[in-house]
């Protein structure tokens, strides 16, 4: 994470002011604070392809488009709930024990999401396996709590988490679509071609690494500043 981004995060201003050429998409959108947060989180600070965070679910849960979408939405809900909680409790939690406190808040919400999925969509829960409980150790969930929600109101924290969650969901769905299309010749479970030769490599772990690597390269090539951060 560059210094400019860190400052932008703590002050709540858009990173556009700091990094040179603005993204055209952002110019057409309303210039309110909430919108700026959302856009910055979805594109400028896209957790998967720009920040290289949360790689485990990005690769483990994207063999099918529907798995990627479900994983992204579960993570988004868990992030929003924990960021809102942290934002609401930001003046109550003592600074010395804030990290353990955040971990427990996140673990609580992730447990709820996990139990919900197991109760209402058991096949999906089985397909995602341990990657739903592993949202607890998802770098950006704790990252948003620490970098943003600990200094901002619950409402703004929820918006910030929504932006990150949407960016994450979009990246995971895109990966899922690509891998499912090449691996099975289908989209969201609907077979598109008759006699499609399955690219087995796309379904096994190696394909996940190759595909994410390619996307990271493509996104970096077309980003204005060419910066890609490293995860913790």
């Amino acid at each position: 994470m560059t210094e400019a981004k860190t400052i932008a995060m703590t002050t709540g201003t858009s990173v556009q002011a700091a990094s040179a050429p603005a993204i055209p998409l952002a110019q057409h959108l309303p210039q309110t604070k909430g919108w700026k947060e959302l856009v910055r989180d979805i594109w400028d600070d896209n957790p998967t392809f720009r920040m290289i965070l949360a790689m485990c679910p990005t690769m483990g849960a994207t063999t099918m488009a529907v798995n990627g979408l479900a994983m992204g939405l579960s993570t988004m809900i868990a992030t929003m709930a924990s960021s809102t909680t942290v934002g609401a409790l930001r003046n109550v939690i003592p600074a010395e024990v804030r990290l353990p406190a955040y971990m427990i808040i996140i673990a609580f919400w992730v447990t709820l999401v996990d139990i919900f999925l197991r109760a209402y969509v058991p096949p999906l829960s089985a397909a995602l396996g341990p990657y739903v409980p592993l949202i607890i150790t998802n770098c950006f969930v704790l990252g948003r709590a620490e970098a943003f929600a600990s200094q901002n109101s619950p409402g703004l924290s929820a918006l910030d988490a929504l932006g990150v969650g949407l960016g994450f969901t979009m990246s995971l769905t895109l990966l899922g679509i690509t891998r499912e299309f090449l691996g099975f010749g289908s989209l969201f479970g609907i077979q598109l071609f008759v006699g499609w030769t399955n690219w087995v490599i796309m379904i096994i772990p190696a394909g996940a690494f190759l595909m994410v690597g390619l996307y990271v390269g493509i996104v970096k090539h077309f980003s204005p500043d060419g910066q890609v951060g490293g995860g913790s």
């Binding site: 290289i52 790689m55 690769m59 673990a107 592993l134 150790t137 690494f209 690597g213 390619l214 390269g217």
Partner: protein, 199 residues
Amino acid sequence: MDIFLIVMGAILTNNILLTTFLGICPFVSGVSGEYASASGMGMAVIFVLTMTVPINWLINHFVLQPLGLGYLSLIIYIVTIAFLVQIVEMFMKQFLPALYTSLGVFLPLITVNCAILGGVLFALSTWNLGFAQSAAYGFGGGLGWALAIILMAAIRERLRFAPIPEGLKGPGLALIIAGLMAMSFVGFSGMINIRDFGG
């Protein structure tokens, strides 16, 4: 014999990094850029995984299950991991200062390394291994993770002066190298299946 097979299986066929994607963040970021930091992080993961998997097994079987608190397991596991990492850090600082200075930076990072919680979840919920088997899986999983990141660091040191397309420099190429490594590990698949040892 079981124990040996599980250790080998955790390293080769069920490599925690290359087949289940756990602990990739340090793998593609700066840590794997240098051989020294990669081996330091690898040692720390071996140490913490070997301790956390059996201890969480004991907590799960003697506290959570008899009391019917299964729904609290995730919160308890992560608190246990954070607590153990702290203890290990304090213990090392006091008694093994040399090791502490070499691992120091990496130990706190390990709490949020998904390889640790992932290893615990695979051993306890997905495969339901016994106590000795869990300990073996923890140790083997750590070894496998360390092997992968050290191999990666060695490859990246060689690539430092190679002509790489601008967009792929850094994480992009690291991921593609990992893909090639994962492909070569496919050759081991089917030799040992850890699932068979579970209850």
